[in-house]
Symmetry: C2
Subunit: 241 residues, 2 copies
Amino acid sequence: MEKCIPSGRVQETHRTQFPSMYKGCLILPWPAHVTSPWFVRGTTSSSSMEESVEARAITTSSSHSQAEKRRRERINAHLSTLRHLIPSASKMDKASLLGAVIDHVKDLKRKAFELGQSLIMPTEVDEVTVECNENGNNKIKNKESIIIRVSFCCNDRPELFADLSQALDSLQLRTVRADIVTLGGRVRNVLILSAKDSEEIVCLSSLKDSLKAVLGWVALPRMSSPGTSTNKKQCVSNPFT
Amino acid sequence: MEKCIPSGRVQETHRTQFPSMYKGCLILPWPAHVTSPWFVRGTTSSSSMEESVEARAITTSSSHSQAEKRRRERINAHLSTLRHLIPSASKMDKASLLGAVIDHVKDLKRKAFELGQSLIMPTEVDEVTVECNENGNNKIKNKESIIIRVSFCCNDRPELFADLSQALDSLQLRTVRADIVTLGGRVRNVLILSAKDSEEIVCLSSLKDSLKAVLGWVALPRMSSPGTSTNKKQCVSNPFT
DNA sequence: TAAAACACGTGACTC
DNA sequence: TGAGTCACGTGTTTT
């Protein structure tokens, strides 16, 4: 039975690092890397070598637990930073905090993507697209207005925006937002246009077609129209008149 | 000695949930909430009450460890989601992953703020601001160009952009980006302008002042200048000439 | 009481 | 080897 109760230094040093589960426990286990404990292994000779083995095991275990403690502190510090970074994530448990972080990252990604779509850079390809809110690509601001999203990419030129302004006037379209990016002689323009939902508009698709044609003349004047911007305006078949 | 080797059900059930540290260990500890183990506590009477106490301790411990396991799995699932959400954060340890998440959130927040600034809505307050990259508010695109950020808010009017275009021409400034939002007769315009970093620019602050003055004339024509846009252009003190 | 959340020390594994 | 990370079961505290 005395073999089961190692007393003195060994027990005390071990107890400081063993879980408190062993409080009041008469029988203490020994580290697994020591195949057999010193007090049952051999003779009564408590040689210094065996003591050093034990001491090394103690220091190894201690440094191990300290390293693990540092690791935990590093992770928790980052979690604390995130807790401070995410709005209203204070007093959340770890799992909920991480869930909030995931939602936040997804939300920011979505916003960045939406903004990035309208901030698209000009390319070398001439392009004109017209989308109405019926297409599901644009949100309906209110029930009394038609929102049209226009995007075109073309060569930059001095009269471009004057011509564009005249063309939109001729269609009685109002520019709610304009996003213009120029790069190396090319220009990308994304417009959000609004039109009064008056009864004069018989068919939205005809307005759309007219707008597309006008934008083609403005963006690609040499290819689609030989006239000047003044001529272009006169050529527009305005569905409002 | 046989007291030290509890065999049968107790040992087996415990071994499945005890750390592998106890592999090959002849002596098994027992749960701390049992003040003294059943096999050393009293007489040889293995009463059903004592067994039920032990059984309850076992089930409690088991449910505890299972709950903790579920908690770990919840946290790790979120970490895995984040690992998949953050670009190139695969094969990172937990702490580094959380660090990357922090950087990503900060980066997205900054971008959203920058974009939000340029997407600001028009207000009722007339305003003109001019910032150069020396102020630290704009990034220097390359060493040979000067980037200027301009923001103004004013009443909308038909000739606004024609006047603006002339004014920027007079200062030999090129519009790299334009963000225009109109709302209820008011307009907010954020421009990113570039100027060749030629030796003709003696002082950047004088260009800045000129730009601010010109924008004042364009945005607030009645208050700051009685002339037309043509007059305005002639009034500009062009630092390039 | 009971369940949830957290910190802890440890064994296993990798580089 | 040694230093590092991870999952695990446990003790403690809080709700």
